[in-house]
Symmetry: C2
Subunit: 145 residues, 2 copies
Amino acid sequence: MSADDLHHSVGARLREAEQQYTANRRAVVAVLAAARTPLTLPEILRADRSLAQSSAYRSLAVLVDAGVVHRLVHGNDYAHYELAEQLTQHHHHLVCDGCGTVVDVTLPTRVESAMDRSFEQAASRHGFTASRHSIDIHGLCTECR
Amino acid sequence: MSADDLHHSVGARLREAEQQYTANRRAVVAVLAAARTPLTLPEILRADRSLAQSSAYRSLAVLVDAGVVHRLVHGNDYAHYELAEQLTQHHHHLVCDGCGTVVDVTLPTRVESAMDRSFEQAASRHGFTASRHSIDIHGLCTECR
DNA sequence: TTGCTTGCAAATGATTTGCACTGCT
DNA sequence: AGCAGTGCAAATCATTTGCAAGCAA
C-alpha cells in the first residue's frame, strides 16, 4: 500500500469514528508505517522529534480506538505499537526474551485456517465467541543467542 | 496432581533455584492451585487475607523466576498469575475483551504439533530460536455477549 | 464562537523497594 | 550470630489527565 493510500484509508476510518486526521496523528501513522517492527513510545518520539510525549500517547489512544493501530503489551516496560492488520496483513510476533525486540512474522494460510477452526471450537466449548487471535512466539534473536 | 505432589514439586524447583519454600510462597501457590483461572494480585489477596501486598508481589517474583508461576499481561490493569505449565498442562488463553476475564483452554495435540513446526520455521526464517509459544484467543464471554 | 487538539506539568496507579523487624539455619 | 523473608510505607515509572493556549469548522 502506498503512503497516499495508507493515509487515505486511515483518514476514512478516523472519520467513521468521528475523529479528525490531524497533523500529529498523521505523523504518528507515518512513523509506524516507516518502521518494520512494532515501536515503543520512546522510539516513536525519537523518530519524530516534533512530537510531544503526551500528544503522542493521545494520538495513539485515538488511533487504537479507531482500530488503526494495535497496542502490544509484553511485560512491564513500554508497550509496542504497530499499524493494525487491516492496513498491513495478518501476522504474529516473534518476541526476543533477551532484549524484548518484537518482529512480525506471517504463517502459511493453511496453518492459519487450521488454527482458526481449532480456536473457534475451543472458544465455544467455554461459551466464548472468538473474534481474533494473537500468537507470540518466544525465543532468542540473533543478537541474544 | 495432588496438593502434596504439587507442593513437593514446587519445593524441589525452588531449591534448585536456591530459594526457600516459605509459608507465604506456599500460600500463594495454594491460592493459584485452587483457582481454575489465572488470578490478579487483588484476587490473590482476597483469597488469602493473611497475605501482605508487597510480600505477595515478592513471592510471585520468586516463583516466576523459578519457573513455577507464569505472569500474563494483557493490558494496563493488573497482570494475571497462574501455575506454570510444567505443573499443570500446556494450554492457551481465552481473553474476554469485555471484562478482561482469562480462561485456560487446551488444543488437540495434532494442532499443537502442527503449530510448533510452523512456528519454528517462521522463527528461523528471522534468525530467531523459538523456545515456546503463547496464544491469546480474544472474544466475548457469556456474560459480555 | 464553539469545540477539538496540543503541550506542559502534575497526577495516577500497578509494581518495586528501603528499612526495621522477625524467624530460619 | 548471620542471613533470608516479611510488612509497612514511600518511591518508581509508564501512562493519563487538568488546564490554558492554539486551531479548525
